[in-house]
Amino acid sequence: MESSKDDPIPLVYIGVLMLDSRFIDKHVRVIFPLPAVLFVSSLMIFPVLYTLSISFTNWNLTSGLPGRFVGIKTYLAILQEPRFWAALWRTLYFTVLAVFIETILGMIWALILNKEFKGKGITKLFLLMPMVSTPVAIGISWTLFYEPTIGLANWALKLVGLPSLKWIADPNLVIPSIILVDVWQWTPMMALIILAGLAGLSIEPVESARVDGAGPFQIFRHITLPMVAPVILTAVVLRSIDALKTYDIIYAMTNGGPGFASETLNIYAYNLSFSYFRLGNAAVVLFFLFTMVMILSYIVARMRTALEN
Protein backbone atom coordinates (compact mmCIF):
# COMPACT_ATOMS: atom_id res chain seq x y z
CA MET A 1 0.00 0.00 0.00
CA GLU A 2 1.34 3.39 -0.95
CA SER A 3 0.33 6.33 1.12
CA SER A 4 0.48 9.87 -0.19
CA LYS A 5 1.80 12.70 1.91
CA ASP A 6 -1.69 13.93 2.75
CA ASP A 7 -2.59 10.71 4.55
CA PRO A 8 -2.58 10.79 8.34
CA ILE A 9 0.29 8.80 9.85
CA PRO A 10 -0.75 5.15 9.65
CA LEU A 11 -1.37 3.47 13.00
CA VAL A 12 1.26 0.87 12.22
CA TYR A 13 4.01 3.49 12.35
CA ILE A 14 2.75 4.82 15.67
CA GLY A 15 2.78 1.25 16.95
CA VAL A 16 6.39 0.71 15.85
CA LEU A 17 7.42 4.04 17.38
CA MET A 18 5.78 3.08 20.67
CA LEU A 19 7.42 -0.35 20.68
CA ASP A 20 10.89 1.17 20.59
CA SER A 21 10.18 4.28 22.64
CA ARG A 22 12.76 4.68 25.40
CA PHE A 23 10.32 6.88 27.28
CA ILE A 24 7.76 4.09 27.61
CA ASP A 25 10.54 1.65 28.46
CA LYS A 26 11.69 3.87 31.32
CA HIS A 27 8.23 4.55 32.76
CA VAL A 28 6.63 1.20 31.95
CA ARG A 29 5.46 0.56 35.51
CA VAL A 30 3.33 3.70 35.31
CA ILE A 31 2.30 3.62 31.66
CA PHE A 32 1.26 -0.04 31.52
CA PRO A 33 -1.31 0.04 34.33
CA LEU A 34 -2.38 3.66 33.74
CA PRO A 35 -5.25 3.07 31.26
CA ALA A 36 -6.76 0.35 33.47
CA VAL A 37 -6.41 2.52 36.57
CA LEU A 38 -8.05 5.49 34.87
CA PHE A 39 -10.85 3.25 33.67
CA VAL A 40 -11.51 1.68 37.07
CA SER A 41 -11.30 5.08 38.75
CA SER A 42 -13.88 6.64 36.49
CA LEU A 43 -16.24 3.66 36.33
CA MET A 44 -15.92 2.33 39.87
CA ILE A 45 -14.29 4.69 42.34
CA PHE A 46 -15.97 7.87 41.13
CA PRO A 47 -19.45 6.23 40.98
CA VAL A 48 -19.02 4.81 44.49
CA LEU A 49 -18.09 8.26 45.83
CA TYR A 50 -21.03 9.73 43.93
CA THR A 51 -23.35 7.18 45.58
CA LEU A 52 -21.86 8.06 48.95
CA SER A 53 -22.63 11.74 48.36
CA ILE A 54 -26.20 10.91 47.32
CA SER A 55 -26.65 8.93 50.53
CA PHE A 56 -26.44 12.17 52.53
CA THR A 57 -29.34 13.73 50.58
CA ASN A 58 -33.07 13.19 50.37
CA TRP A 59 -32.97 13.06 46.55
CA ASN A 60 -36.18 11.66 45.11
CA LEU A 61 -36.48 11.63 41.32
CA THR A 62 -40.28 11.59 41.32
CA SER A 63 -40.42 14.90 43.21
CA GLY A 64 -38.54 16.60 40.38
CA LEU A 65 -36.57 18.59 42.94
CA PRO A 66 -32.81 18.39 43.37
CA GLY A 67 -31.68 16.50 46.47
CA ARG A 68 -31.09 18.48 49.65
CA PHE A 69 -28.26 17.73 52.07
CA VAL A 70 -29.77 16.06 55.15
CA GLY A 71 -26.65 14.63 56.80
CA ILE A 72 -27.10 11.15 58.26
CA LYS A 73 -30.89 11.49 58.44
CA THR A 74 -31.43 9.00 55.62
CA TYR A 75 -29.14 6.49 57.35
CA LEU A 76 -31.19 6.78 60.55
CA ALA A 77 -34.43 6.41 58.57
CA ILE A 78 -33.18 3.27 56.84
CA LEU A 79 -31.95 1.77 60.11
CA GLN A 80 -35.47 2.17 61.49
CA GLU A 81 -37.06 0.64 58.41
CA PRO A 82 -38.30 -2.93 59.10
CA ARG A 83 -38.22 -3.71 55.38
CA PHE A 84 -34.47 -3.02 55.35
CA TRP A 85 -33.77 -5.34 58.30
CA ALA A 86 -35.99 -8.03 56.83
CA ALA A 87 -34.08 -7.78 53.54
CA LEU A 88 -30.74 -7.88 55.34
CA TRP A 89 -31.58 -11.04 57.34
CA ARG A 90 -33.09 -12.64 54.24
CA THR A 91 -29.89 -11.94 52.30
CA LEU A 92 -27.79 -13.54 55.05
CA TYR A 93 -30.19 -16.49 55.33
CA PHE A 94 -30.02 -17.04 51.58
CA THR A 95 -26.23 -16.71 51.43
CA VAL A 96 -25.40 -18.87 54.45
CA LEU A 97 -27.80 -21.69 53.63
CA ALA A 98 -26.98 -21.75 49.90
CA VAL A 99 -23.22 -21.71 50.40
CA PHE A 100 -23.42 -24.28 53.21
CA ILE A 101 -25.32 -26.77 51.06
CA GLU A 102 -23.09 -26.07 48.05
CA THR A 103 -19.93 -26.68 50.09
CA ILE A 104 -21.05 -29.96 51.66
CA LEU A 105 -22.53 -31.30 48.43
CA GLY A 106 -19.55 -30.03 46.42
CA MET A 107 -17.17 -31.85 48.73
CA ILE A 108 -19.10 -35.10 48.41
CA TRP A 109 -19.17 -34.77 44.62
CA ALA A 110 -15.45 -33.98 44.51
CA LEU A 111 -14.63 -37.06 46.62
CA ILE A 112 -16.72 -39.23 44.29
CA LEU A 113 -15.02 -37.88 41.17
CA ASN A 114 -11.51 -37.81 42.60
CA LYS A 115 -10.06 -40.72 40.67
CA GLU A 116 -9.28 -41.55 37.10
CA PHE A 117 -12.17 -43.12 35.24
CA LYS A 118 -13.47 -43.32 31.71
CA GLY A 119 -15.71 -40.34 31.04
CA LYS A 120 -14.19 -38.03 33.63
CA GLY A 121 -13.69 -35.35 30.98
CA ILE A 122 -17.31 -35.35 29.88
CA THR A 123 -18.47 -35.42 33.51
CA LYS A 124 -16.51 -32.23 34.13
CA LEU A 125 -18.07 -30.71 31.02
CA PHE A 126 -21.55 -31.55 32.36
CA LEU A 127 -20.62 -29.88 35.64
CA LEU A 128 -19.71 -26.69 33.79
CA MET A 129 -23.05 -26.43 32.03
CA PRO A 130 -25.27 -25.06 34.84
CA MET A 131 -22.82 -22.34 35.77
CA VAL A 132 -22.34 -21.02 32.24
CA SER A 133 -26.11 -20.99 31.62
CA THR A 134 -27.68 -17.52 31.56
CA PRO A 135 -29.12 -17.11 35.09
CA VAL A 136 -32.16 -15.03 34.14
CA ALA A 137 -33.25 -17.58 31.52
CA ILE A 138 -32.66 -20.43 33.96
CA GLY A 139 -34.69 -18.59 36.60
CA ILE A 140 -37.72 -18.19 34.34
CA SER A 141 -37.51 -21.81 33.24
CA TRP A 142 -37.49 -22.98 36.87
CA THR A 143 -40.73 -21.09 37.53
CA LEU A 144 -42.42 -23.62 35.22
CA PHE A 145 -40.82 -26.38 37.26
CA TYR A 146 -42.34 -24.88 40.43
CA GLU A 147 -45.71 -24.09 38.82
CA PRO A 148 -48.30 -25.46 41.33
CA THR A 149 -50.64 -27.17 38.85
CA ILE A 150 -48.49 -28.12 35.83
CA GLY A 151 -45.00 -28.08 37.36
CA LEU A 152 -42.77 -31.11 37.73
CA ALA A 153 -42.00 -30.35 41.38
CA ASN A 154 -45.55 -31.05 42.55
CA TRP A 155 -45.91 -33.98 40.18
CA ALA A 156 -42.84 -35.54 41.84
CA LEU A 157 -44.33 -34.95 45.31
CA LYS A 158 -47.58 -36.57 44.24
CA LEU A 159 -45.69 -39.54 42.88
CA VAL A 160 -44.29 -40.32 46.32
CA GLY A 161 -47.63 -39.59 47.98
CA LEU A 162 -46.86 -36.17 49.46
CA PRO A 163 -49.24 -33.20 49.40
CA SER A 164 -48.45 -30.54 46.81
CA LEU A 165 -46.71 -27.30 47.76
CA LYS A 166 -46.92 -23.75 46.50
CA TRP A 167 -43.12 -23.37 46.23
CA ILE A 168 -42.20 -19.84 45.12
CA ALA A 169 -45.75 -18.64 45.76
CA ASP A 170 -45.45 -19.62 49.45
CA PRO A 171 -43.77 -16.89 51.58
CA ASN A 172 -42.14 -19.53 53.82
CA LEU A 173 -40.89 -21.71 50.99
CA VAL A 174 -39.83 -19.10 48.47
CA ILE A 175 -36.24 -18.60 49.71
CA PRO A 176 -35.48 -22.35 50.00
CA SER A 177 -36.98 -22.82 46.53
CA ILE A 178 -34.68 -20.16 45.08
CA ILE A 179 -31.75 -21.61 47.04
CA LEU A 180 -32.36 -24.93 45.27
CA VAL A 181 -31.77 -23.19 41.91
CA ASP A 182 -28.62 -21.53 43.24
CA VAL A 183 -27.44 -24.89 44.57
CA TRP A 184 -28.07 -26.46 41.18
CA GLN A 185 -26.07 -23.74 39.41
CA TRP A 186 -23.13 -23.42 41.79
CA THR A 187 -22.52 -26.76 43.56
CA PRO A 188 -20.63 -27.86 40.42
CA MET A 189 -18.20 -24.97 40.86
CA MET A 190 -17.53 -25.96 44.47
CA ALA A 191 -17.01 -29.55 43.33
CA LEU A 192 -14.58 -28.52 40.57
CA ILE A 193 -12.60 -26.25 42.89
CA ILE A 194 -12.29 -28.91 45.58
CA LEU A 195 -11.47 -31.49 42.91
CA ALA A 196 -8.65 -29.26 41.63
CA GLY A 197 -7.46 -28.88 45.23
CA LEU A 198 -7.50 -32.63 45.77
CA ALA A 199 -5.60 -33.22 42.52
CA GLY A 200 -2.81 -30.96 43.74
CA LEU A 201 -2.23 -32.92 46.93
CA SER A 202 0.69 -35.29 47.33
CA ILE A 203 -0.44 -38.86 48.02
CA GLU A 204 2.37 -39.77 50.41
CA PRO A 205 0.65 -38.78 53.69
CA VAL A 206 -2.44 -40.73 52.65
CA GLU A 207 -0.36 -43.77 51.69
CA SER A 208 1.58 -43.82 54.95
CA ALA A 209 -1.61 -43.40 56.98
CA ARG A 210 -3.10 -46.35 55.11
CA VAL A 211 -0.03 -48.43 55.90
CA ASP A 212 -0.51 -47.48 59.56
CA GLY A 213 -4.00 -48.96 59.30
CA ALA A 214 -6.17 -45.83 59.14
CA GLY A 215 -9.68 -46.26 57.69
CA PRO A 216 -10.99 -44.16 54.79
CA PHE A 217 -13.04 -41.93 57.10
CA GLN A 218 -10.06 -41.31 59.41
CA ILE A 219 -7.85 -40.53 56.43
CA PHE A 220 -10.39 -38.02 55.13
CA ARG A 221 -10.98 -36.41 58.51
CA HIS A 222 -7.34 -36.12 59.66
CA ILE A 223 -5.32 -35.90 56.44
CA THR A 224 -7.26 -34.97 53.31
CA LEU A 225 -9.59 -32.40 54.84
CA PRO A 226 -6.90 -30.35 56.61
CA MET A 227 -4.86 -30.31 53.40
CA VAL A 228 -7.68 -28.98 51.18
CA ALA A 229 -9.10 -26.71 53.89
CA PRO A 230 -7.41 -23.52 52.58
CA VAL A 231 -8.80 -24.15 49.10
CA ILE A 232 -12.29 -24.78 50.46
CA LEU A 233 -12.15 -21.71 52.68
CA THR A 234 -11.21 -19.37 49.84
CA ALA A 235 -13.87 -20.91 47.64
CA VAL A 236 -16.46 -20.44 50.40
CA VAL A 237 -15.66 -16.76 50.82
CA LEU A 238 -15.66 -16.09 47.07
CA ARG A 239 -18.92 -17.96 46.62
CA SER A 240 -20.44 -16.12 49.60
CA ILE A 241 -19.69 -12.76 47.98
CA ASP A 242 -21.33 -13.92 44.76
CA ALA A 243 -24.31 -15.37 46.63
CA LEU A 244 -24.70 -12.08 48.51
CA LYS A 245 -24.96 -10.37 45.13
CA THR A 246 -27.55 -12.80 43.71
CA TYR A 247 -30.03 -10.81 41.69
CA ASP A 248 -30.87 -12.39 38.35
CA ILE A 249 -32.55 -15.61 39.45
CA ILE A 250 -34.50 -13.88 42.24
CA TYR A 251 -35.69 -11.16 39.87
CA ALA A 252 -36.65 -13.73 37.25
CA MET A 253 -38.47 -16.08 39.63
CA THR A 254 -40.28 -13.76 42.06
CA ASN A 255 -38.96 -10.19 41.79
CA GLY A 256 -38.92 -10.21 45.60
CA GLY A 257 -42.41 -11.64 46.04
CA PRO A 258 -44.82 -12.93 47.16
CA GLY A 259 -45.22 -9.67 49.03
CA PHE A 260 -41.66 -8.99 50.14
CA ALA A 261 -40.98 -12.62 51.10
CA SER A 262 -37.92 -13.00 48.84
CA GLU A 263 -36.76 -9.38 48.78
CA THR A 264 -33.00 -9.45 49.40
CA LEU A 265 -30.83 -6.34 49.79
CA ASN A 266 -30.06 -6.40 46.07
CA ILE A 267 -33.71 -6.48 45.05
CA TYR A 268 -34.59 -3.88 47.70
CA ALA A 269 -31.85 -1.55 46.46
CA TYR A 270 -32.95 -2.10 42.87
CA ASN A 271 -36.56 -1.28 43.70
CA LEU A 272 -35.63 1.82 45.71
CA SER A 273 -33.50 3.01 42.79
CA PHE A 274 -35.49 2.14 39.72
CA SER A 275 -39.08 1.52 40.87
CA TYR A 276 -39.54 4.19 43.56
CA PHE A 277 -36.67 6.51 42.49
CA ARG A 278 -35.88 7.25 46.14
CA LEU A 279 -32.22 7.74 45.35
CA GLY A 280 -31.16 8.92 48.82
CA ASN A 281 -32.58 5.79 50.46
CA ALA A 282 -31.23 3.58 47.71
CA ALA A 283 -27.74 5.03 48.17
CA VAL A 284 -27.82 4.22 51.89
CA VAL A 285 -28.80 0.59 51.24
CA LEU A 286 -26.10 0.35 48.57
CA PHE A 287 -23.61 1.74 51.07
CA PHE A 288 -24.45 -1.08 53.52
CA LEU A 289 -24.26 -3.71 50.78
CA PHE A 290 -20.97 -2.25 49.61
CA THR A 291 -19.55 -2.33 53.16
CA MET A 292 -20.52 -5.98 53.59
CA VAL A 293 -18.79 -6.90 50.34
CA MET A 294 -15.72 -4.86 51.29
CA ILE A 295 -15.37 -6.70 54.60
CA LEU A 296 -15.57 -10.03 52.79
CA SER A 297 -13.14 -8.79 50.12
CA TYR A 298 -10.68 -7.84 52.83
CA ILE A 299 -10.91 -11.39 54.13
CA VAL A 300 -10.28 -12.75 50.61
CA ALA A 301 -7.27 -10.50 50.12
CA ARG A 302 -5.81 -11.50 53.49
CA MET A 303 -6.38 -15.16 52.69
CA ARG A 304 -4.69 -14.86 49.30
CA THR A 305 -1.59 -13.33 50.82
CA ALA A 306 -1.63 -15.91 53.61
CA LEU A 307 -1.90 -18.71 51.04
CA GLU A 308 0.90 -17.30 48.93
CA ASN A 309 3.31 -17.39 51.87
Binding site: L128, W155, M189, I193, A235, L238, N266, F290
Partner: protein, 270 residues
Amino acid sequence: MKKILPKIGFLLLVLMVVVPVLFPLLWIFTSSLKTQIDITATPPRWVFIPTFKNYQNVFQNQNFIKFFINSTVVGVSSVVFSLILGLPAAYSIARYKQEKLGLMILIARLMPGIALLLPWYLIFSRLALIDTYTALILSHMLIGLPIVVWIMTSFFASVPLEIEESARVDGATIQRTFVQIVLPLAGPGVVTSTTLAFLFSWNNFMFSQVLSMEKTKTLPLAIYNFVSYADVDWGAVMAATVAIIAPAIALTMAFQKYVVRGLTMGAVKG
Protein backbone atom coordinates in the same frame (compact mmCIF):
# COMPACT_ATOMS: atom_id res chain seq x y z
CA MET B 1 -18.30 -60.81 39.89
CA LYS B 2 -16.11 -59.33 42.60
CA LYS B 3 -14.69 -56.84 40.14
CA ILE B 4 -17.98 -55.84 38.58
CA LEU B 5 -19.89 -54.89 41.72
CA PRO B 6 -17.63 -52.01 42.82
CA LYS B 7 -17.66 -50.78 39.23
CA ILE B 8 -21.44 -50.65 39.18
CA GLY B 9 -21.44 -48.97 42.58
CA PHE B 10 -19.04 -46.31 41.32
CA LEU B 11 -21.11 -45.79 38.19
CA LEU B 12 -24.19 -45.23 40.35
CA LEU B 13 -22.30 -42.65 42.42
CA VAL B 14 -21.24 -40.77 39.28
CA LEU B 15 -24.82 -40.87 38.04
CA MET B 16 -25.91 -39.36 41.36
CA VAL B 17 -23.77 -36.38 40.43
CA VAL B 18 -24.50 -36.16 36.73
CA VAL B 19 -28.26 -36.75 36.67
CA PRO B 20 -29.31 -33.84 38.94
CA VAL B 21 -26.93 -31.56 37.05
CA LEU B 22 -28.21 -32.50 33.60
CA PHE B 23 -31.87 -33.19 34.28
CA PRO B 24 -33.09 -29.55 34.41
CA LEU B 25 -31.24 -28.73 31.18
CA LEU B 26 -32.62 -31.79 29.40
CA TRP B 27 -36.07 -30.97 30.67
CA ILE B 28 -35.79 -27.38 29.38
CA PHE B 29 -34.64 -28.76 26.03
CA THR B 30 -37.45 -31.32 25.69
CA SER B 31 -40.03 -28.73 26.77
CA SER B 32 -38.77 -26.45 24.00
CA LEU B 33 -39.87 -29.14 21.54
CA LYS B 34 -43.38 -29.45 22.98
CA THR B 35 -46.63 -27.74 22.04
CA GLN B 36 -48.30 -25.61 24.70
CA ILE B 37 -50.83 -28.47 25.21
CA ASP B 38 -48.05 -30.99 25.86
CA ILE B 39 -46.27 -28.62 28.22
CA THR B 40 -49.35 -27.91 30.34
CA ALA B 41 -50.48 -31.54 30.45
CA THR B 42 -50.66 -33.25 33.84
CA PRO B 43 -49.17 -35.73 34.44
CA PRO B 44 -46.19 -34.56 32.36
CA ARG B 45 -45.91 -36.20 28.96
CA TRP B 46 -42.59 -37.98 28.54
CA VAL B 47 -43.49 -39.18 25.07
CA PHE B 48 -44.66 -36.57 22.59
CA ILE B 49 -44.33 -35.56 18.95
CA PRO B 50 -41.54 -32.97 18.79
CA THR B 51 -42.26 -29.68 17.10
CA PHE B 52 -39.97 -26.86 16.01
CA LYS B 53 -42.80 -24.35 16.17
CA ASN B 54 -41.38 -22.72 19.33
CA TYR B 55 -38.02 -22.13 17.66
CA GLN B 56 -39.80 -20.68 14.64
CA ASN B 57 -41.65 -18.30 16.94
CA VAL B 58 -38.46 -17.26 18.68
CA PHE B 59 -36.41 -16.65 15.56
CA GLN B 60 -39.24 -14.95 13.69
CA ASN B 61 -39.41 -12.43 16.50
CA GLN B 62 -37.46 -9.49 15.07
CA ASN B 63 -36.25 -8.42 18.50
CA PHE B 64 -34.64 -11.75 19.18
CA ILE B 65 -32.24 -11.48 16.25
CA LYS B 66 -31.52 -7.86 17.13
CA PHE B 67 -30.82 -8.77 20.77
CA PHE B 68 -28.59 -11.60 19.58
CA ILE B 69 -26.52 -9.16 17.53
CA ASN B 70 -26.40 -6.68 20.42
CA SER B 71 -25.14 -9.34 22.82
CA THR B 72 -22.42 -10.34 20.37
CA VAL B 73 -21.32 -6.76 19.71
CA VAL B 74 -21.24 -5.88 23.41
CA GLY B 75 -19.56 -9.15 24.40
CA VAL B 76 -16.83 -9.03 21.74
CA SER B 77 -16.08 -5.32 22.13
CA SER B 78 -16.00 -5.36 25.91
CA VAL B 79 -13.63 -8.35 25.87
CA VAL B 80 -11.31 -6.75 23.29
CA PHE B 81 -11.08 -3.48 25.22
CA SER B 82 -10.67 -5.37 28.50
CA LEU B 83 -7.69 -7.19 26.99
CA ILE B 84 -6.17 -3.96 25.68
CA LEU B 85 -6.37 -2.33 29.12
CA GLY B 86 -5.92 -5.44 31.20
CA LEU B 87 -2.93 -7.24 29.63
CA PRO B 88 -0.34 -4.47 30.18
CA ALA B 89 -1.79 -3.76 33.63
CA ALA B 90 -1.57 -7.41 34.65
CA TYR B 91 2.00 -7.63 33.34
CA SER B 92 3.02 -4.60 35.37
CA ILE B 93 1.27 -5.89 38.51
CA ALA B 94 3.02 -9.26 38.15
CA ARG B 95 6.51 -7.93 37.32
CA TYR B 96 6.69 -4.99 39.72
CA LYS B 97 4.61 -6.57 42.51
CA GLN B 98 2.09 -3.71 42.47
CA GLU B 99 -0.13 -5.32 45.09
CA LYS B 100 -2.24 -2.22 45.75
CA LEU B 101 -3.24 -2.12 42.08
CA GLY B 102 -4.04 -5.80 42.20
CA LEU B 103 -6.26 -5.18 45.20
CA MET B 104 -8.10 -2.38 43.39
CA ILE B 105 -8.87 -4.74 40.51
CA LEU B 106 -9.92 -7.46 42.97
CA ILE B 107 -12.42 -5.04 44.49
CA ALA B 108 -13.83 -4.40 41.02
CA ARG B 109 -14.26 -8.17 40.64
CA LEU B 110 -16.19 -8.39 43.93
CA MET B 111 -18.22 -5.17 43.70
CA PRO B 112 -21.98 -5.74 43.54
CA GLY B 113 -23.22 -4.56 40.15
CA ILE B 114 -26.24 -2.92 41.69
CA ALA B 115 -23.97 -0.57 43.70
CA LEU B 116 -22.64 0.82 40.42
CA LEU B 117 -25.84 0.75 38.46
CA LEU B 118 -27.52 3.69 40.20
CA PRO B 119 -24.60 6.13 39.73
CA TRP B 120 -24.00 4.82 36.20
CA TYR B 121 -27.62 5.40 35.32
CA LEU B 122 -27.43 9.00 36.53
CA ILE B 123 -24.08 9.69 34.85
CA PHE B 124 -24.94 8.00 31.56
CA SER B 125 -28.32 9.81 31.46
CA ARG B 126 -26.57 13.14 31.84
CA LEU B 127 -24.14 12.23 29.04
CA ALA B 128 -27.07 11.04 26.87
CA LEU B 129 -25.47 7.59 26.69
CA ILE B 130 -28.46 5.53 27.82
CA ASP B 131 -29.39 2.95 25.17
CA THR B 132 -26.03 3.20 23.39
CA TYR B 133 -23.40 0.54 22.79
CA THR B 134 -20.89 2.83 24.51
CA ALA B 135 -22.65 2.64 27.87
CA LEU B 136 -23.13 -1.12 27.66
CA ILE B 137 -19.58 -1.84 26.52
CA LEU B 138 -18.15 0.36 29.29
CA SER B 139 -20.30 -1.37 31.91
CA HIS B 140 -19.43 -4.85 30.64
CA MET B 141 -15.74 -3.92 30.66
CA LEU B 142 -16.03 -3.66 34.42
CA ILE B 143 -16.92 -7.37 34.28
CA GLY B 144 -14.21 -8.27 31.77
CA LEU B 145 -11.27 -6.22 32.98
CA PRO B 146 -11.07 -7.73 36.49
CA ILE B 147 -11.28 -11.23 34.98
CA VAL B 148 -8.45 -10.47 32.56
CA VAL B 149 -6.24 -8.89 35.22
CA TRP B 150 -7.05 -11.53 37.85
CA ILE B 151 -6.17 -14.43 35.56
CA MET B 152 -3.29 -12.84 33.64
CA THR B 153 -1.40 -11.59 36.68
CA SER B 154 -0.67 -15.13 37.82
CA PHE B 155 0.09 -16.23 34.26
CA PHE B 156 2.65 -13.48 33.76
CA ALA B 157 4.14 -14.16 37.17
CA SER B 158 4.85 -17.73 36.04
CA VAL B 159 6.79 -16.67 32.91
CA PRO B 160 10.49 -17.11 33.82
CA LEU B 161 12.38 -13.82 33.99
CA GLU B 162 15.44 -15.22 32.19
CA ILE B 163 13.55 -15.41 28.90
CA GLU B 164 12.83 -11.70 29.08
CA GLU B 165 16.30 -10.80 30.26
CA SER B 166 18.00 -12.34 27.23
CA ALA B 167 15.81 -10.17 24.98
CA ARG B 168 16.66 -7.15 27.09
CA VAL B 169 20.36 -7.83 26.62
CA ASP B 170 19.79 -7.60 22.87
CA GLY B 171 18.57 -4.06 23.42
CA ALA B 172 14.81 -4.60 23.10
CA THR B 173 12.57 -2.27 25.11
CA ILE B 174 10.34 -3.70 27.84
CA GLN B 175 7.20 -3.10 25.78
CA ARG B 176 8.71 -4.87 22.75
CA THR B 177 9.72 -7.81 24.95
CA PHE B 178 6.20 -7.87 26.36
CA VAL B 179 4.49 -7.91 22.96
CA GLN B 180 6.88 -10.24 21.14
CA ILE B 181 8.03 -12.65 23.82
CA VAL B 182 5.84 -12.64 26.92
CA LEU B 183 2.40 -12.39 25.30
CA PRO B 184 2.87 -15.39 22.98
CA LEU B 185 3.97 -17.46 25.99
CA ALA B 186 0.85 -16.43 27.92
CA GLY B 187 -1.47 -17.63 25.15
CA PRO B 188 -3.40 -20.13 27.31
CA GLY B 189 -4.07 -17.41 29.87
CA VAL B 190 -5.40 -15.10 27.17
CA VAL B 191 -7.73 -17.85 25.94
CA THR B 192 -8.92 -18.51 29.51
CA SER B 193 -9.63 -14.89 30.34
CA THR B 194 -11.18 -14.14 26.93
CA THR B 195 -13.57 -17.07 27.23
CA LEU B 196 -14.61 -16.27 30.80
CA ALA B 197 -14.98 -12.53 30.18
CA PHE B 198 -17.16 -13.23 27.16
CA LEU B 199 -19.32 -15.76 29.04
CA PHE B 200 -19.94 -13.35 31.93
CA SER B 201 -20.79 -10.55 29.52
CA TRP B 202 -23.11 -12.83 27.54
CA ASN B 203 -24.99 -13.85 30.70
CA ASN B 204 -25.22 -10.40 32.26
CA PHE B 205 -28.79 -9.25 32.69
CA MET B 206 -28.73 -6.43 35.23
CA PHE B 207 -26.68 -3.87 33.32
CA SER B 208 -28.68 -3.93 30.11
CA GLN B 209 -31.91 -4.08 32.10
CA VAL B 210 -31.22 -0.50 33.19
CA LEU B 211 -28.76 0.94 30.69
CA SER B 212 -30.52 -0.08 27.48
CA MET B 213 -33.95 0.69 26.07
CA GLU B 214 -35.17 -0.48 22.66
CA LYS B 215 -32.04 -0.20 20.51
CA THR B 216 -29.34 -2.00 22.50
CA LYS B 217 -31.10 -4.61 24.64
CA THR B 218 -29.09 -7.80 24.99
CA LEU B 219 -30.15 -11.41 24.77
CA PRO B 220 -30.93 -12.16 28.45
CA LEU B 221 -33.70 -9.54 28.17
CA ALA B 222 -35.14 -11.21 25.07
CA ILE B 223 -36.73 -13.88 27.20
CA TYR B 224 -39.26 -11.30 28.39
CA ASN B 225 -40.59 -11.05 24.80
CA PHE B 226 -42.50 -14.22 25.57
CA VAL B 227 -43.69 -13.38 29.09
CA SER B 228 -46.64 -11.08 29.59
CA TYR B 229 -48.87 -10.29 32.55
CA ALA B 230 -51.69 -12.33 31.07
CA ASP B 231 -49.81 -15.51 30.31
CA VAL B 232 -46.49 -17.10 29.51
CA ASP B 233 -45.75 -18.79 26.20
CA TRP B 234 -43.83 -21.59 27.92
CA GLY B 235 -42.72 -23.31 24.72
CA ALA B 236 -41.21 -20.09 23.39
CA VAL B 237 -39.59 -19.30 26.76
CA MET B 238 -37.95 -22.72 26.77
CA ALA B 239 -36.84 -22.40 23.13
CA ALA B 240 -35.46 -18.91 23.82
CA THR B 241 -33.63 -20.26 26.89
CA VAL B 242 -32.04 -22.99 24.77
CA ALA B 243 -31.11 -20.45 22.08
CA ILE B 244 -29.50 -18.15 24.67
CA ILE B 245 -27.52 -20.77 26.57
CA ALA B 246 -26.51 -22.86 23.53
CA PRO B 247 -23.70 -20.47 22.43
CA ALA B 248 -22.41 -20.31 26.02
CA ILE B 249 -22.35 -24.09 26.30
CA ALA B 250 -20.76 -24.45 22.85
CA LEU B 251 -18.01 -22.03 23.87
CA THR B 252 -17.51 -23.95 27.10
CA MET B 253 -17.21 -27.23 25.20
CA ALA B 254 -14.66 -25.73 22.84
CA PHE B 255 -12.49 -24.33 25.64
CA GLN B 256 -13.39 -26.73 28.46
CA LYS B 257 -9.91 -27.01 29.97
CA TYR B 258 -9.46 -23.25 30.01
CA VAL B 259 -12.87 -22.59 31.55
CA VAL B 260 -12.25 -25.10 34.35
CA ARG B 261 -8.85 -23.60 35.03
CA GLY B 262 -10.20 -20.05 35.05
CA LEU B 263 -13.16 -20.79 37.31
CA THR B 264 -11.14 -22.74 39.84
CA MET B 265 -8.21 -20.35 39.82
CA GLY B 266 -9.60 -17.99 42.41
CA ALA B 267 -9.27 -20.61 45.10
CA VAL B 268 -6.52 -22.85 43.76
CA LYS B 269 -3.27 -21.12 43.03
CA GLY B 270 -1.54 -21.79 39.70
